[in-house]
């Protein structure tokens, strides 16, 4: 009973990150690259992201202290951070990065400083959610995690189990459709 609850909690936590726009399709691409021979791939990539992000954000902080601002350098730094964020599917972070770059192009110092606060805020929020998610996943074991989401929904409709399984891995939307159909 407890184990099922854990599975459900993990699946819901994951679904929420997609529903609330924190993660996008790219995160699912990472999950698809995780298998028996690379059971912790997603967490490894995300951990690498935290490490690189710390460096990028620190460099951006420093660059924003300079007077006058070097917009070209700021844009270049943010381009790299945006790239990493895109690669892990960090949707909201990516959006704020784009806003920042727009202000760089417009040479708007206030805009840059303001949006940089938003970038850091979104990054911190996402990181907290992901850390909680991986911690929960570790408690049920690595291999089962990949299927945690599918297990929960597959029990609803056995006749479409195959397509459900694939849908869950590829997109969060069908989870809602499946729930509607089961009623």
């Amino acid at each position: 009973m407890e184990r099922n609850q854990m599975h459900r909690q993990i699946a819901n936590t994951r679904k929420l990150m997609f529903d609330q726009g924190y993660l996008d399709e790219q995160f699912i691409q990472l999950e698809e690259l995780q298998d028996g021979s690379n059971p912790n791939f997603v967490e490894e990539v995300v951990t690498l992201y935290y490490r690189d992000s710390a460096r990028f954000l620190s460099n951006l902080d420093q660059a924003l202290e300079k007077r006058p601002l070097d917009f070209s350098k700021l844009d270049n730094l943010m381009h790299q951070f945006k790239g990493s964020s895109t690669s892990i599917g960090a949707k909201k972070v990516k959006t704020e990065c784009t806003h920042f770059r727009n202000y760089c192009n417009a040479r708007n110092a206030e805009g840059c400083k303001r949006t940089f606060q938003n970038v850091k805020k979104e990054y911190t929020t996402l990181r907290k959610k992901l850390e909680a998610y991986f911690q929960m996943s570790r408690q049920v074991g690595p291999v089962e995690t990949a299927y945690a989401s599918s297990v929960v929904v597959c029990t609803i409709r056995y006749d479409t189990i195959h397509s459900l399984h694939l849908n869950i891995i590829h997109s969060n939307l069908p989870l809602r459709r499946c729930a509607a159909r089961s009623h």
Binding site: E32, G36, N38, V45, S87
Partner: protein, 196 residues
Amino acid sequence: MGVISISETPLHVLAVDDSNIDRKLIERLLKTFSYHVTAVDSGIKALEFLGLQDVENFQSFSPSPEVEVNLVITDYCMPGMTGFELLRKIKESKSLKDIPVVIMSSDNIPARINRCLEEGAEEFFLKPVRMSDVDKLKPYLSKNERKTTDEEECVSNDSSGAMDDDDGGGGNDGVEARSDEDEQIEKDQSLLILPP
């Protein structure tokens, strides 16, 4: 038509990207297709790996007999040497120009894409690169492999049909766990596909 000696060595892709995350990603993507991967973080290191000595002056080339690269996939925006400059250096080199090169970029700039394709890049992938992109590399890699046998004539007609059946390591259905046996069977089948 004689005996074909097919090399058992997997196809070797050289991946170039200054981003740690993107390097890890592309390496994993390529490995799901059973390619052997070498990943470096700069254009200069890529050229050194390919055997180009004295890179700056583009003087001498001394290829290492153990190193054979079947495809180079590189990021466009890199400090120092850009992916475009790396592409150019490869295409200008007598010994390296036949290696297919693919460019990746997070920016969708048509002028940039055209420039790369005109300079000889085979494909241009927008980041983040996905499995469906890596799937497109198959024709460039199999063509290269065939050049090393003397059967190019006979094989060319069959290439499109035969190689399409070869899943090349199971990249399409990444969700399912693949047993070692499955992979061995596919490897064996790929050996059988080429004509006698």
